[in-house]
Each structure stands twice: as C-alpha cells, then as structure tokens.
C-alpha cells in the first residue's frame, strides 16, 4: 500500500478504474453504485459495511444484484452520510431494501440514515444477514452476524427486483434466503488493519480456530491444525445440525476463501463437502468456490449452505452481472 489513511479510497479508485460499470459517488465518494444510475421503476437494493472484505460489502453491485453499496473504513461501518447517499443512489421510485450484516455500527448507521431521509418519500425496508452460526446459539439467531452467506440474499433479492417485483416481495425473498442460510468459518492465520497496533488476533503457526468471525471474533475452539477433511467434516456436521436441510433436499454450497487460502485448497475442501452432502442425500445446486467474502490476508475458509426451495433455486439461476459474480 501507499499510506494507511489512503488504503480504502485508493482501492475504490482502482476498482472503478478497472470496472467502468461501477462508479464512486456520494459526498465523500464512499458509495459504489451502478454507472448507469438507479433503474427507474425497479426496487432498489443497498448494502454496506466495512472495507477489507472484498468483494463483500463493496463489489456486488450490478445487474440482478445490488444497486449501491455504502463503504466504510477497514472493518468499520459506513458513515451515516454514506448510507444516506447509497439509499438515494439506489432509489428508482419503488422503494429501497437495506440488506446488510447484523453488526452494531451498520445497524445504527442505516437506521439513522433512514430517519434522516424521512420526508424524501423513499419507502424503506431492512433485512439483516445473520448466517454465522458460531456468533450466536440457535435460540439467539437475532444476535448472529452476517458473513459470506449474505451474498445469497443479494442474489435472490436482486433477481426478484429485476423481475419487477414490489418492495415487499423483494424483502420477502431476501429474508427467506437469510433464514435458510448457515455459514461457519475457520482460520489459521490473522490479518492486520493498515495502521493498527497489531493483527486482529494471534494464533500459533500450528493452530486452527473453528468458528472464527470475519474480523477475528472468537470462535468455538482452538486446537492443533487438522487435515482438510477433518475440518470440513466438522463444519458440514455443524451446519446441517443447524440447517433447514438435514437428509435429502437441495442446497447451494459456497466454499469461500477468507483471503490467503488458495483455490487449490478450496477445491480440496469442496471435494470433501460435496461427498458428505451426497452421503446425506443432499443435491448441490449453483455451487460457488472462490473469494466471495474475505478478511484481507486472513488464512482460512468458510462454508455456507443455503437450503433452496423452488423459488430460491430459480432466483439463484437468474441472470446477474457484477465484476465478481456472473450468472
């Protein structure tokens, strides 16, 4: 990097320079929106969150996905001003869905933005991503945080909006995707915010932590490094125990790198996960393997399972086009 204070803005400049379908907008340039502007007559969808998770909370803006995204500093929520700017940028006249992770700062800022926009005539709804099963018990799902699995909600809500559905319908399918999605991650290497005192957590060279969050939030256990199949076996078991799908049914699977983990390693994990799901009679649809929600240079991966019904499966397969996800 050049300077810690310029890290986010220079990253956004580069992103938009390479992808002219995206533009920086808003009073501080902390909104990524479609270059063509809001689509008139379509429900708008905004997200937002801290930087450092590319493509998440930044890059899923495009046809059949988000309309705008409010960008925060590294691992910090977007400002209230950016949230307001993003909502305005997404407004095509049929209301705007706020779809973001269940984090305190993001909640406060998007809620406050909505209050400050009262009087501008933009109808707003909210859906909170909360797929991380390690961040709260099953009976405290409202406390869980949104991680990689929120991209499924982006996809189905974006597809529904592109079909011309109204705000309530778009909100309903986003909520359905959140309800039916579960994620768990594990990591064996930390990341460090530019300019920060040290890494977000410390972990031994021969250790792995199961259930760790995308900002290094503590997980379920820490132990000696284990083979890939042992990790994926536990992750799949924990996800299915908490999931809509247990035996039989159809599900999408996302095997996601937290940053430093290679595609080769992800495919080793996918091989095992696909086999485990097949043993349980679960058919995989629209699988995803790659860097979809990262934590800068964190070494580790997450697994998300979305239990689909006919409607969600159809929306997942609908056309979408952004720099990081094309269908």
């Amino acid at each position: 990097m050049n300077a810690a204070d310029d890290y986010v803005d220079e990253m956004l400049d580069g992103l938009c320079s390479m992808h002219p379908a995206l533009v920086r907008t808003g009073s501080n340039g902390r909104v990524i929106a479609r270059a063509v502007g809001a689509v008139k007559g379509k429900v708008g969808i905004v997200s937002g969150g801290g930087s450092g998770h590319l493509p998440l909370f930044t890059g899923y803006v495009g046809e059949g996905l988000l309309d705008a995204c409010a960008i925060g500093d590294i691992f910090a929520g977007p400002s209230v001003e950016a949230c307001m700017d993003a909502i305005r940028a997404a407004d095509g006249g049929r209301g705007v869905l706020r779809l973001f992770g269940n984090y305190g700062g993001d909640r406060m800022n998007f809620n406050l933005a909505g209050e400050l926009l009262e009087g501008e005539g933009i109808e707003l709804t909210t859906v909170l991503g909360r797929d991380d099963i390690a961040s709260g018990a099953e009976n405290e799902r409202e406390k869980r945080r949104g991680v990689a699995g929120i991209i499924y909600a982006y996809k189905v809500a974006g597809a529904k909006a592109a079909q011309g559905a109204d705000l309530q319908e778009v909100t309903r399918v986003a909520e359905a995707a959140v309800d039916r999605c579960r994620t768990i991650g594990c990591a064996w290497g930390a990341c460090q915010i530019p300019g920060a005192a040290g890494p977000t957590f410390t972990i031994g060279d021969d250790e792995v932590e199961m259930g760790i969050g995308i900002h290094g939030e503590p997980g379920i256990w820490r132990d000696r490094l284990k083979p890939a199949d042992a990790l994926t076996g536990e992750m799949v078991a924990r996800l299915l125990e908490d999931s809509f799908v247990k035996n039989g049914g159809r599900a999408s699977v996302l095997v996601n790198s937290l940053g430093a983990t290679s595609l080769e390693e992800l495919f080793i994990a996918y091989r095992s996960i696909a086999s485990l799901l097949k043993e349980r009679g679960i058919e995989i649809v629209s699988p995803l393997v790659g860097h979809y929600a990262t934590s800068m240079e964190m070494a580790g991966f997450s697994v998300s399972i979305l239990a689909v019904d006919e409607e969600l499966e159809s929306l997942l397969a609908a056309p979408a086009d952004c720099p990081f996800w094309k269908v």
């Binding site: 590294i74 691992f75 910090a76 929520g77 406060m108 920060a196």
Partner: protein
C-alpha cells in the same frame, strides 16, 4: 461566564490534539479484543471536527460537529459520539451560552440518546457508562474549575471500576470472561479526552 462556542472550539481542538497523541495507546487497548484501530478512527474523526467553523449558537455548533462526524466515520463509537452531539444540539438550540451547572444535564441527555441508538444499557462496560458518571458528577455544579476536577475523577473511577467486569455489548461480549481485566477502549478514549479537555478548561 459560562460555556460558549469559544470554550467548545477550544475543547474540540484539545481533543483533536489528544486523539493524535493517544492514537497508539488506544489502538493497543482496542487490539486486545478488537481490531486495534480505535486510535486511528478517533484521530481521523477529531481531525474532521477540528476543521469545522463553529457558529455562535451552541445548538447550531453541535449540529455542525454532528454533521461532520456523520461523514467522517461509521464505527460504532463514532456513531455514538455523533448521536451525543446531536442530542446536545437539540438541547442547546437557540442558546449562545450555558452555565457550567447545566453541562451535566446536557451530558445526561446525550447518555440517554446514545443508549436509545445503540440498544445497550448502563453497566454494559461501554463509553456510555463513563459519560453517565461524568454527567452525574457535574450536574448542577456551577464552579467550572471544580467541574473540571470532578469530571476527570469520575471518568478515571469508572475506568477502574469497570476494568474487572465483563463486556456485555458488541463484539467484545463474545469474549465473555476474557474481557475481564481489560479496559474498554471507548471508556479509555473518553477518559483520555476528558483529561485533555478539562486540563485547560477555565470557568471564567
């Protein structure tokens, strides 16, 4: 003479100097359970606040600061600070001066607004516990010099009193008992800012 935009201007500037001075200490405190960037965030935030030209009306002055904060940061601590500034703005609208004895009530109004916005409660081990303590310590106290002393004392007492308690809100709550024995970075930051601001505030 009471508290006017001159004192507010000076306080913001002193806070900005202090935020830069204590950046590393606050990053290190935050790094024990968090991302390690509280110092960076506050330094950037107060740089923006210090650049604001404050009107004489205290309500407008606090609103100008809140507006600047709204564009400067989206961190939970930053948004809570902005909420406090907005609450002060509402309370002081139309006034160019407030007696020193009225500042406690302004802080307590800010406390209530922050609790409402953040969804927390007193005792959660957050910056709001410190603001509550200082607000109560100076409520009705017309002697500015004494208010300065009591503010610093109250903020430091809260820091010590809460150190061995567990955090009950936000990311830190997930650490449970591991958060015992560690200062909440927001409480520590507020204490450092109070020390910096009250170290030079005059009552006349």
């Amino acid at each position: 003479m009471g508290f006017t935009h001159t004192e507010l201007n000076a306080a913001v500037h002193r806070a900005a100097v202090a935020a830069a001075q204590f950046e590393s200490e606050l990053n290190a405190a935050d790094g024990k359970l968090g991302d390690g960037d509280t110092g960076i965030m506050l330094r950037r935030l107060f740089e923006r606040l210090d650049a604001v030209s404050l009107p004489h009306d205290l309500g407008d002055a606090f609103k100008s600061l809140a507006t600047a904060a709204a564009g400067a940061t989206g961190s939970s601590l930053g948004t809570l600070l902005m909420t406090a500034l907005l609450a002060a703005s509402h309370r002081l609208k139309g006034r160019s001066e407030v007696p020193w004895g009225g500042l406690g009530a302004v802080m307590l109004a800010a406390r209530d607004a922050m609790l409402s916005r953040g969804g927390g409660a007193l005792g959660d081990k957050t910056v709001i516990d410190s603001i509550d303590a200082v607000g109560r310590a100076i409520d009705g106290l017309d002697d500015g010099a004494e208010a300065k002393v009591r503010s610093q004392k109250a903020a430091n007492q809260m820091l010590v009193e809460f150190r061995d308690r567990p955090c009950r809100l936000g990311r830190a709550r997930m650490f449970g008992d591991r958060s015992k024995g560690i200062d909440d970075p927001g409480m520590l930051a507020f204490t450092r800012l109070v020390e910096a601001v009250c170290g030079e505030v005059t009552s006349r």
